[in-house]
Symmetry: C2
Subunit: 428 residues, 2 copies
């Protein structure tokens, strides 16, 4: 089987990671005189802003994840590679893969994202999983649905209450969205399905170490979000750092709360890209990049997205959200265009904050555009329309619109599947 | 938390298994003076006739599986229980669950289905998986998609050919549908996505120990199916029993074929219900039931679906297909209605064969109604319409119709996700 074409001749750009940052870099390199190798350890690009809807049985995984190859199949300049990068050799200009092979580059873009951070309590990860991958989401979905199943069969009321208690640690957008959606699931979707338990009695607890929910939004929206969550039946506790998490319980404010389900939405840590390169990072492991997003001392290496820390000269740090990663990916692509066309001179990234949107529950959301602040039903419709717009492809948009229509009108969440590894499938 | 109602008073029917047989029994028990407990080890009913489309990345799991509770939530007489039955005590009239608990019944309906059978070669299961559960399908989907990914990176042409060789053992409906759909996937969906390999060169081999494909269909349709598969590029070998399967290779006709993917679609074995009861079974483990589908010596225990063998007095054995299980489930429900209303006298199950439908590939199918035989595009449209009709709920029908429209018009299969347990997620 002969290779279809020779990719060894032109300037080669390797992009590691096909999240928003890496994918937008690849898109905006279109037309540049380069060959691109896009390496990811998954075969799919994941629309992380809606991943919590997979975890709460609202959407199917294939509605928020798309094969990378398929998204880029018209781009003959891009070769997609499924593989795990484990290191970079900046001197030899190669990246090393887990299978021992190496691939050389002329320009490297690291877009390797972030994972959860447990602030030094790595042992909490096993009992308080976070939400970053499709597998995280389907495992959490099974865990949540199994808690209701076990409660239905439990005869000890104390144990039953623990099974019906869901604790979310961290009241950023993901924590707020998870708490609100679990409350909707318990109060709108499930009640008719159970006979022994009343799922209205489900307890959802949102714990936040800081003084407010949705930190970064306008105060008025944070206040609204808290009240809206409480209206949905979520208990919100502010200034409430978690001091201990163990199997089946979380300790907060000196009080031990029995809970079968604890979800971590409190912090992230950058991928080990800084360690690969041996360059300075901030305390969350994020590379401190140059103004043009290149690595100090290595103008041929760029990094974008959640794996870097960027401070605007006149503003707050760039937030770890999808629009920021897209802008950074695009900026790096434009920088490469410029360099290869011979342009020189300083060129610095500038972040344009387009606004923040978070769903709280059915017909409840907040939108903060700075000049315009919306909340309630108006913000919720805007949230829905914006997210459908941002999905990839007409089919996904139709499919998600259809799914949401069913949830909205009939409270039916069709993705309520408990699936798991075969050896765990037999519950008792 | 108080129980919503007391379920201990009325005649209690336990149904084990929420496949077609068990679910149809539950549906047709509506209005009977009974309380029903429906026990399944999964939380979802699975539309098995389309499971191969999950394995081949055409449909999402949630398009062919629905939460059992949700399907039955209007039936206050039914309590759904997630649990694994591990035994029956006919004398004490209880079923035993894996957690050690027991539930008592007045009438028992066993609808526990079947698993793969490797004809004494259980060691083949690990290297030639079959297709019975959602987990089977998503694991097979990952396996198939990974084979293409690995082939793209493989430099040894012999190894590359093995990665691009897919062997399906057994040319019944599932084998035919898998072979045709994998050929469509390789020839229509994937070619534009890869750079190093030409997925048109994918080899799909369908092996059948008997003399024809689609045994049970009219000869003319079997012949057509074979030719149609060959037109799709599938190599069909008849009278070709497999003598050995090992990791990466299958031996047939004394010849060893290197193949990364071997799929088992050759035989099933009934669940161990016959062993639970200590009653006679045929060589496939299927209980030989009375004409009214009760267990010999136990008129209060019925069995339906793939777990039983039924011979019509004047015809062939009842086939192990969804319509047969549904008819049996309905028949048993009607028998229970009759008994509880005091009717007596003999009452024997009669199977009405409504016809057989199998898809081969895009615009290619066969339909055999006895009085009417269709093939090609007409049969394919009929197949599509019939299967959409049989799906559960308007939303699933719209969703599957939309998905199929995309596959039909654009060759896009959106469910191409490689997902797996976290510890295996990092491919090298």
């Amino acid at each position: 089987m002969a290779a279809k074409r020779d990719i060894a001749k032109r300037h080669r750009v390797i992009i590691v990671g096909a999240g928003f940052g890496g994918l937008w870099a690849a898109r905006h390199l279109k037309g540049a005189p380069v060959d691109i190798i896009l390496i990811d350890q998954r075969n799919h690009h994941l629309f992380q802003p809606l991943l919590y809807q997979v975890a709460t049985a609202s959407l199917a995984p294939s509605e928020v994840a798309w094969p990378i190859r398929s998204m880029l199949h018209d781009r003959k300049d891009i070769t997609t590679m499924l593989g795990t990068v484990v290191g970079v050799d900046p001197a030899g200009r190669t990246v090393r893969l887990a299978d021992g092979s190496a691939v050389s580059y002329d320009t490297l873009i690291l877009a390797t994202g972030a994972r959860h951070s447990y602030f030094g309590h790595d042992e909490w990860e096993a009992v308080a999983p976070g939400l970053k991958t499709v597998e995280d989401a389907t495992a959490l979905r099974s865990h949540i649905l199994l808690a209701f199943e076990e409660a239905e069969r439990e005869t000890d009321p104390v144990r039953q209450q623990a099974l019906l208690t869901f604790v979310i640690v961290g009241a950023g957008p993901t924590g707020v969205e998870l708490a609100g959606t679990i409350a909707d699931l318990a109060h709108d979707t499930l009640p008719r399905d159970f006979r022994t338990i009343d799922t209205h009695e489900t307890r959802v607890l949102l714990l936040e170490a800081g003084p407010r929910v949705l930190n970064g939004y306008a105060d008025s929206l944070s206040d609204y979000a808290k009240r809206a969550l409480e209206k949905l039946g979520v208990e919100v506790r502010l200034d409430a750092p978690v001091t201990q998490i163990e199997h089946g319980a979380v300790t907060v404010g000196g009080q031990r709360v029995a809970a079968q389900t604890v979800i971590w939405a409190a912090g992230v840590r950058a991928s080990p890209a800084a360690e690969w390169l041996g360059v300075p990072a901030d305390r969350n492991g994020r590379i401190i990049v140059e103004p043009d997003l290149s690595i100090p001392g290595h103008p041929e290496i760029f990094a974008v997205g959640d794996t870097i820390a960027v401070q605007m000269p006149d503003g707050p740090p760039v937030p770890g959200i999808a629009p920021a990663a897209k802008q950074e990916g695009r900026f790096v692509a434009e920088t490469i265009h410029r360099r290869l066309s011979g342009a020189s001179g300083p060129h610095a990234f500038r972040y344009h904050h387009q606004g923040s949107l978070a769903q709280i529950g059915k017909r409840k959301a907040v939108a903060d555009f700075g000049w315009l602040k919306l909340r309630g039903a108006a913000a919720w419709w805007l949230w829905g329309i914006a997210h459908i717009y941002f999905l990839v492809g007409v089919r996904s948009r139709l499919s998600v619109a259809l799914t949401w229509l069913w949830i909205y009108t009939r409270n039916q969440r069709s993705a309520r599947l408990i699936t798991q590894a075969e050896d765990k499938a037999a519950v008792d």
